[in-house]
């Protein structure tokens, strides 16, 4: 396993849509290096023939009847929207 470097922290922050300063990147890299170092412990286990667990209980797909149900009221849905107009969500201008 690899440890997280500062360059990787910057790359990962971008992928996760987090803006971080150079100073923060250094700080997070120190901490995440220590954390990923501690995770190395797992590599001493031989898991070649072990099945991964995604859920602890047996899961089956649950399908409901294909029948339309009423959705949420639009007024309600817009209740937490910062800015809206004519039933639509307003966002800042994002095209250059």
């Amino acid at each position: 396993m690899a440890k997280m470097t500062k360059e990787e922290v910057i790359e990962v922050a971008h992928l996760a849509r987090l803006a971080i300063t150079d100073e923060e990147a250094t700080h997070f890299a120190d901490q995440l290096e220590a954390i990923t170092n501690a995770m190395e412990l797992l590599s001493e286990l031989d898991t070649e023939n072990v099945e991964p667990t995604t859920h602890v209980l047996p899961m089956v797909n649950v399908l409901r009847e294909d029948k339309a149900e009423a959705g949420l009221d639009r007024e309600l849905v817009l209740k937490n929207v910062k800015e809206h107009e004519a039933g639509q969500i307003k966002v800042p201008t994002i095209l250059d």
Binding site: M39, S43, V50, T53, T54, V56, N80
Partner: protein, 489 residues
């Protein structure tokens, strides 16, 4: 008329004999909160108007139509959505968020006739062990206001310990109900994964998260689990299994009970007082007819690394929904769409949340997926098998809930790995998905210690039975913390 030290049954008796009313009881809860919460800081939001209005309606219900929780006050952790009451998960990114629907557990509290008084502080998005990761405030431990209440359900545990409300709901992903319950000297249950619907629980790590009750006594805890358990069409991971009456399991009889005590839970990092309190507890249970043997859960030491990889990976995916568009915090500094997302999220999330999002994104990224995420899922299988094997021979597994009692505020916040180590004894339970409770079992320097009782899948009944026998044989749960002195009871 004191309410703070009363059980549900005693409170019902007071209502039925007309010694008090539901409205009076709700008013008393708000008086108590006004008296102690300036010290404890457990509540983020209060709904006094809504609660008193509801209480007045409930008072009109005929006595024969009321259940055991009817009219009793409850507080809800702030990652559980409540229609009309601000719900933030203690994050800036949800500041001012006012849900338009109720979580299934909240609907169930309403159906039971409970009165929701407010929302409880927590570590942001349930990531933390001390409540220091809340964007809004630090909750203090009622036993010593310079120490942490634990986390992430720190507000839920502190509110019960301080006598503000007799019931709260918390959530537990890696110990977030049991660890604060231990630190605050209350009873906290993490039910089997799937026992309680997660619909309306703001997701942290979906394969681990579970909602559960915090109370002063074991019987009250079982009562509250009765009210919130059960399959829900809105949560496809909720288990379609029968829900027993958990209070009926509290029989007082543990004759012939077989207890496994994992040697790994008595390792070097676990404090001597915590170990001794468990040894003393085992003696009490032996006197009541149980037997115990030392066992091994050999993969315990891998649980912490496994947990942080799986939980962070799931969190990085779950928290991608917070983008500032439809609800929540929105940046004011954005020249284009990418900057809008990045600034919104950077300004809206705290450092611990960012660390876990980055770790999870890394563990899921191409090239590292097999080495980190898939590896962790495989080790999770080994940890689950440890429990499966132990439960072939034993009815419950018992150990300490935490290595030490509550620590000082500020002591561990700058060192994530030391902070994570608080949860080494609770995390394996979430990875396996089995139920476990923490109950008070002793003190170290005036701070409570917790006894952890772990059960088989969907066997909360045995866990409650054992917990109740210990509680009835001891008086740790009757001790009250420093903030009780002089406060309105």
């Amino acid at each position: 008329m004191g309410l703070a030290d009363k059980t549900a049954a005693e409170l019902q008796e007071m209502i039925h004999t007309k010694e008090t009313t539901i409205v009076e009881m709700a008013e008393k809860a708000f008086d108590r909160i006004a008296a102690v919460d300036s010290k404890v800081d457990a509540f983020l939001a209060l709904d006094k108007e809504g609660a008193l209005k509801k209480a007045a309606q409930l008072d009109d219900t005929p006595m024969n139509k009321r259940g055991p929780l009817f009219g009793l006050p409850i507080g809800v952790k702030d990652n559980i959505v409540t229609e009309g009451i601000e719900t933030t998960a203690s994050s800036r990114i949800l500041e001012g968020f006012n849900p338009i629907y109720n979580a299934t557990v909240v609907e169930k509290l309403n159906a039971a006739g409970m009165v929701i008084v407010g929302k409880l502080n927590m570590d942001e998005f349930a990531m933390g062990s001390s409540n220091e990761n809340s964007y809004y405030k630090n909750t203090k431990n009622p036993w010593n206001l310079e120490t942490v209440p634990g986390g992430s359900s720190g507000g839920s545990a502190a509110a019960v310990a301080a006598g503000e409300v007799p019931f709260t709901l918390g959530s537990d992903t890696g110990g977030s109900i049991r660890q604060p319950a231990a630190f605050c000297g209350v009873v906290g249950m993490k039910p089997t994964y799937g026992r309680v619907s997660r619909f309306g629980l703001i997701a942290y790590a979906s394969s681990l998260d579970q909602i559960g009750p915090l109370t002063r006594t074991v019987k009250d805890n079982a009562l509250l689990l009765n009210a919130i358990a059960g399959h829900d069409d809105k949560d496809s991971t909720s288990a379609n299994v029968e829900v027993p009456d958990f209070t009926a399991a509290v029989t007082g009889d543990i004759n012939g009970l077989r207890i496994g005590v994992p040697k790994e839970y008595f390792a070097d990092g676990v404090g001597e007082a915590a170990k001794q309190a468990v040894r003393d507890a085992l003696k009490v249970l032996e006197e009541k007819g149980a037997t115990w043997e030392e066992i091994s859960l050999p993969h315990s030491k891998y649980a912490l690394a496994t947990y942080y990889l799986i939980a962070s990976s799931e969190a990085s995916s779950n928290l991608s929904r917070f983008d500032g568009i439809r609800y929540g915090y929105r940046t004011e500094k954005a020249g284009n769409l990418l900057e809008f997302y990045m600034n919104t999220r950077s300004e809206g999330f705290g450092d611990e949340v960012k660390r876990r999002i980055m770790l999870g994104t890394y563990a899921l990224s191409s090239g590292y997926y097999d080495a980190y995420y898939k590896k962790a899922q495989k080790v999770r299988t080994l940890i689950k098998q440890d429990f499966d094997k132990a439960f072939e021979k034993y009815d419950v597994i018992i150990g300490p809930t935490t290595p030490t009692p509550a620590f000082k505020i500020g002591e561990k916040i700058d060192d994530p790995l030391t902070m994570y180590a608080n949860d080494i004894l609770t995390i394996p339970v979430n990875l396996a998905g089995v139920p476990a409770i923490s109950i008070p079992c002793g003190f170290e320097n005036g701070l409570p210690l917790g006894l952890q009782i772990i059960g088989k899948y969907f066997d909360e009944e045995t866990v409650y039975r054992v917990a109740d026998v210990f509680e009835q044989a001891t008086d740790f749960h009757k001790k009250t913390p420093q903030v009780w002195e002089g406060a309105a009871q």
